[in-house]
């Protein structure tokens, strides 16, 4: 880990720099690109998730500086598989690759149903999703010392010592189960949708 305490809310300037860095990394490094895809489509399933959430910036007891561990490279297969499923059931690639310019909101809205229903189906069939926190959003809750900083993000007036008390603004999502199809030896995962030729 090169920066052990990433800012939970980077500033605009910092975000610009992250975006530029990410842009070139995506172009140059296919594995990184796959991880970004996985991160965007299934945040909780992404193997980089532990690094994506900031630990509490407060010096909680014994914040022993962790030895920089090598980042693991995610295999693109699972990401490509998920993309293929989203295309098959939700036409997501078709939808995102189309220029919305010439269409009315009603036309786009109609098709959004297909995409919405399909995406919901893919998520339902391949993941079991559960909220990270079961409390109702807006309710007050207390985080004890040693809470899982990978699963809970502190925002706002982040000062003082645990236990932290605050209101829940988003319950979070966690994939409690992932069920991706098994692939045959030699199956080409880069084909996200086969071309179709009617004879």
């Amino acid at each position: 880990m090169t920066h052990s305490t990433p800012d939970p809310k980077p500033s605009l300037l910092r975000r610009l720099s992250i975006a530029c860095g990410a842009f070139f990394s995506i172009l140059a490094n296919p594995e990184f690109a796959a991880r970004v895809v996985a991160l965007r489509h299934a945040p909780t399933a992404a193997p980089v998730a532990p690094q994506a959430v900031a630990p509490a910036p407060q010096p909680v007891p014994a914040p022993a500086p962790v030895a920089p561990a090598p980042l693991k490279a995610a295999s693109p297969d699972a990401a490509l598989q998920l993309l293929a499923l989203l295309q098959r059931d939700a036409r997501l690639i078709d939808f995102t690759q189309e220029n919305l310019g010439g269409y009315s909101d009603a036309e786009i809205g109609g098709v959004a149903r297909v995409v919405h229903e399909g995406c919901a189906k893919v998520l339902r069939e391949h993941f079991t999703l559960a909220p990270v926190r079961t409390e109702a959003e807006g309710s007050r809750l207390t985080l004890p010392a040693g809470f899982d900083a990978r699963a809970v993000r502190l925002t706002g007036n982040v000062v003082g010592q645990a236990p932290f008390s605050g209101s829940l603004s988003h319950r979070g999502w966690r994939a409690t189960e992932t069920r991706l199809p098994k692939l045959a030896e030699g199956h080409d995962v880069t084909v996200l949708a086969q071309a179709e030729v009617e004879l």
């Binding site: 598989q81 293929a84 098959r88 036409r91 078709d94 939808f95 690759q97 189309e98 919305l100 010439g102 269409y103 036309e107 786009i108 109609g110 098709v111 149903r113 297909v114 995409v115 229903e117 069920r179 199809p181 098994k182 692939l183 045959a184 030896e185 030699g186 199956h187 080409d188 086969q194 179709e196």
Partner: protein
Amino acid sequence: MSAPRYAIGIDLGTTHCALAWVDLAASEGEKTAHGVLEIPQLTAPGTVESLPLLPSFLYLPHASELAPGELALPWPDAPQDAVGEFARARGAQTSIRLVSSAKSWLCHPGVDRRAPILPSDAPPEVARVSPLEASTRYLAHLRQAWNHAHPEAPFDEQDVTVTIPASFDPAARELTLEAARAAGYVGVTLLEEPQAALYQWIQASGGQWRKAVKPGDIILVIDVGGGTSDFSLIAVLELEGNLELQRVAIGDHILLGGDNMDLTLAHVVARKLAQAGTQLDPWQLRALTYACRAAKERLLSDATLPAQPLVVPSRGSKLIGGSIRTELTQEEVRMTLLEGFFPQVDASARPASRTRAGLTQLGLPYAQDAGVTRHLAALLGRQVGATAALEGFAGAAPAGASFLHPTAVLFNGGVFKSGVLTERTLATLNGWLAAEQAAPARLLSGADMDLAVARGAAYYGHVRRGQGVRIRGGTASAYYVGVESAMPAIPGFEPPLQALCLAPFGMEEGVETEPLAQEFGLVVGEPVHLRLFGSTVRRQDAVGTLLDFWSPEELQELGEIEALLPAEGRQPGEVVQVQLRAIATDTGTLELTAVATGSGERWKVTFDVRSPGADGA
């Protein structure tokens, strides 16, 4: 064979198969450890997923259609074709290579069910398969899926039950058993699907079912699956202080199910689009059927919704530009489904009668009348006397009742996941009951609509080991052979046919009838064909009862049976006198044997005989 560890239940459905199990070692009495097997299957080329249901479809791909290895499954066989979800999805686009509804073909007496006739519209270069072979493939897939998941408990050492519609005739039952054996099953038992659904309800109640029903109840099981509708009536009796269940009647075999309903809705919408000038191709019609299914669920569950938008996505990659938008209205759904399939008719309503062109039609004999409630009214009317002879039911049926009064209803099948359709069916039935001053029937809830049959079949394997209550009743038909009467021939008239009772109603398994007194002369080496009839209403006829006259309601012709004496050890052309006798086997089939009058030698009489004139292809 060691004692089985599991009881396995297999629902071999028209549109879906499922496999459930009960862990016998961990189950005691009405407490069972049970589950459903997730079945690995192709969902796309080279992609295997495990799903609780295996769609009953077989796809026969072209040699260059798929890359090598794309049909691979988790087990080592190298299949040449695909079974399950991928078969269904791919076959929807290339129907000439898709085998579907094999089960309906398996019980179609007008075709040779062992002959390669499917897909029925395949061009000559496609190597067709027989209905028997297709069913075998689904059963073999399930067996392999089990062995893959349970290497420690091989399938062949478990107790296996396969379900069939209650309305399957002896030939279809035997063919199902033959398919199971061809798939490598040993020691398999057949169970009627409505009974399986009731077993699952009993299992799910965890012993509470004894409080939900009482002696004198008549439970009506209504099972409307993807392709067939099946009804059974089960009476609750009290015997020495214990509740007993007895199946007293079954319905006709009706090829009518949820798929017909979705397709009908799609056609309603397609007609509307056509009037507006938009023609749909077959691909779009399928997409529309799919969209209609989802919209229908929402409209039926919320009567205040006026309409639901439908989108038929474009086939090309231009999704927004090429899609067709339309809507399905509340009125269309109600008119089509409720009035079309579940009309609120009187108890005296009957389905429009089919003018049968003999048994030699080539397509599947789909129900002509789509009104499920009319078929139900016909069954209850026909079975008004079904419980008359049962102990404890003598005074139950009011005098002058025009139909049998069920007191409880159990729904099963994917169609009844819609609350509106169960309510409509129950309300219609209760309307009939109210008209005859009878109490409304209660709804038995808690059934698992998609998986009940497989689960119930597995539970049955547990029950057969003496644990929990068992549904009795024996065969739900009496069987007859047609004999020509000895009347002097009248020119221009066929000699009148008489029906000779061969097997009485309610034969319990393991029972063998007395041989028929009537002797038939069989010519050695030449098959003799006899016409077989069945009756689901004549409960009193004993073996040897001769009927001179019957109404079409009473007796249905089931096809032909064939007796053939092998020529070994005899002179060809020799005539041997034989008697026929019937056995209700432990596996759930009916077996007919020809017994030589003198020597007592026996030969099996086969049911599945191709009707003369049917050419199948």
